[in-house]
């Protein structure tokens, strides 16, 4: 039956989408609070993957364990990144700010990528042997189920953070009405820095999980960033559920495209999506 392999592809697509979704939610949060399209977002993911890879090779610890060490590290990285670089650019006047942010985050992404290619000058990935499970005619690798579980758990944790913690409430308040939030005592700068940290950590987790799925090349940073951009613009800027839905849609399209066409084209899909989405969005802005 040709249904079984299709379903397997579908599951893989959902998984891939889920991983993209983590990174997308991260960027969505960042955009929501600071209106910054962080072009270095994907580079962080790749850096996290590279660091994890090196650690795994060196110590032999398993990936999930390493992830639990590396992800918090990237929370700090994102936090510092905001304080040192982004914060300064956010204080520019409107005209200069957009240009500065684009070039600055672009440049930082380049720097990060070059660091990755110095650490690991080739493509890298991780292979674990897992026993497959069969549901009737469908064979699914336990690995993928595990990944899905990780993504699901992370989403739940995220939901908890955003809706139940002090930070989450402050975040939502600031996104809603920054001025009033500040008048009520919320420290905008602190919230922004924390959000960058959180967003970067999510991207890092996405990057690390991606290690399990396919080989990562050092200059995947920008393609990933553009993919994530396409997702959040498609799903509605600042909307978490929208980003999730859009990322799963993209994951599925990429998987099917890669299977039926050629893997080379699957990457281009997100670019086309981005171009189309950005066009529609701009048209919509024109006719306010």
């Amino acid at each position: 039956m040709t249904l079984a392999p299709l379903l397997e592809l579908l599951i893989f697509g959902i998984l891939l989408g889920g991983i993209y979704g983590l990174s997308a939610i991260g960027l969505s949060l960042i955009f929501g609070i600071a209106r910054v399209l962080n072009l270095a977002h994907g580079a962080f993911a790749v850096l996290a993957a590279a660091v994890s890879f090196v650690v795994i090779q060196a110590t032999g610890l398993n990936l999930l364990f390493v992830a639990m060490l590396v992800v918090p590290l990237f929370f700090v990285a994102g936090y510092v990144y905001e304080i040192l670089l982004i914060h300064r650019m956010l204080s520019f006047n409107r005209e200069r700010r957009i240009e500065a942010l684009i070039l600055g985050t672009l440049g930082f992404g380049l720097v990060t990528e070059s660091i990755v290619s110095i650490i690991i000058p080739r493509n890298f990935g991780v292979n674990y042997q897992f026993l497959p499970i069969s549901f009737g005619e469908i064979t699914v690798s336990t690995l993928r189920l595990l990944l899905l579980a990780v993504v699901a758990i992370t989403t739940v944790i995220l939901h908890f953070i955003v809706y139940k913690t002090w930070y989450g409430k402050a975040l939502r308040a600031t996104i809603d009405d920054a001025e009033t939030a500040q008048l009520m005592g919320i420290n905008f700068d602190r919230i922004t820095s924390i959000t960058f940290g959180l967003g970067t950590a999510l991207s890092a987790l996405g990057g690390i999980l991606l290690l399990l799925v396919f080989n990562i090349s050092p200059n995947m940073g920008f393609p990933i960033t553009l993919k994530v951009l396409a997702i959040i613009i498609l799903g509605g800027l600042g909307s978490i559920l929208g980003s999730l839905a859009a990322s799963i849609a993209l994951g599925i399209s990429e998987t099917f495209a890669g299977f039926f066409l050629d893997t080379a084209w699957s990457n281009s899909i997100s670019l086309v999506v981005l171009l189309v989405v950005v066009l529609i969005k701009s048209e919509g802005l024109l006719r306010r």
Binding site: L37, L101, G104, G107, T112, S114, L229, D262, L271, L275
Partner: protein, 312 residues
């Protein structure tokens, strides 16, 4: 004072530059060609950026189109003239096509959209092997003296674009574009068709970038995805334009040379460090742009046109 000084320096520079090919090795000529190609791309980027405020990060796309089209034509043994004509047509076609879509984008979306275009072009270059030679690119046989003819053509084109940029800025067209940057909504209520103006300036800029691509192939003898849509050729001109401005003659030319030379050195030693350096430069450009571009009653205009009195 400054008028006479600048003209003398410009004339000297011109004379020196003309003499160079006769007294130096072909390596130096190659080097200078590379710098002038980057300078041309930088001026092309600046044409759109300075007056309209839009950052066309995809300026390497017409460059690549020109480079590949020319290489493709030559590798199929078409005559040089035909190759040039076809390449220019290709450049115009692609820039008009992408232009019509790109100009509908606003602000940050414009930059992101053009960036996506570059990556898309890169992907196409990799995958359409029959057209582009895939990963290896295309290699062509070039005549021995091609580096020298390219040298003079490049120098000429740089001068032309410099003058053209200044001329446009003073013209009604220039005013329209600046008003688009100043306040696009107001500009439209003044009767200015922003979209058309943006497309026109984009096509002009792309044309020069594309010709730079043609010339690049002509003296290099090869074209690859990396050389046409890679990080260096995409971002170096941007950095140069923003950090150095393109409105006086002397200072930026020196600065441009230094930057390009530095990147040459980096490329031949540690490639990874090139990207690193470019990234740092981009960050610097973001934080500290030296906006020589924003000159009121552009000093350059008075200089270049000699004794022309200040007339707005």
């Amino acid at each position: 004072m400054k008028t006479a000084e600048d003209i003398v320096i410009a004339a000297l520079a011109l004379a020196t530059m003309s003499a160079v090919p006769f007294v130096s090795s072909s390596y130096i000529v190659f080097l200078l060609n590379g710098i002038m190609v980057l300078a041309l791309c930088s001026l092309s980027f600046n044409l759109v950026y300075a007056d309209t405020g839009y950052m066309n990060l995809g300026n390497s796309v017409p460059f690549g189109v020109g480079a590949y089209a020319f290489a493709f034509a030559l590798s199929h043994n078409w005559s040089a003239t035909l190759a040039v004509v076809v390449s220019i047509l290709a450049i115009l076609f692609f820039s008009a096509l992408s232009g019509i879509f790109i100009v509908r984008l606003k602000g940050a979306y414009y930059a992101i959209g053009t960036l996506a275009l570059v990556l898309f072009a890169q992907a196409l270059a990799y995958n359409l092997g029959w057209l582009t030679g895939g990963y290896q690119g295309i290699i062509v046989n070039v005549a021995g003296g091609s580096a020298y003819s390219a040298y003079y053509i490049l120098a000429f084109l740089n001068a032309v674009l410099l003058l053209l940029t200044a001329a446009i800025r003073k013209s009604s067209f220039g005013y329209r574009m600046r008003s688009i940057k100043g306040n696009e909504i107001v500009a439209s209520t003044l009767g200015i068709n922003a979209a058309v103006n943006k497309v026109i300036v984009l096509i002009i800029g792309s044309l020069f970038a594309g010709i730079a691509g043609i010339l690049s192939t002509s003296y290099n003898g090869f074209v690859t995805s990396e050389s046409s849509f890679g990080i260096s050729i995409t971002f170096l001109p941007v950095i140069m334009a923003i950090l150095l401005g393109s409105f006086s003659i002397v200072a930026p030319l020196i600065g441009v040379t230094i930057v390009a030379l530095a990147s040459e050195i980096f490329v031949t030693t540690i490639p990874q460090l090139t990207d690193f350096m470019l990234g740092i430069l981009l960050i610097l450009a973001a934080l500290y742009p030296k906006n020589l571009i924003v000159l009121k009653n552009s000093r350059f205009l008075k200089n270049k046109s000699g004794v022309r009195s200040a007339s707005s």
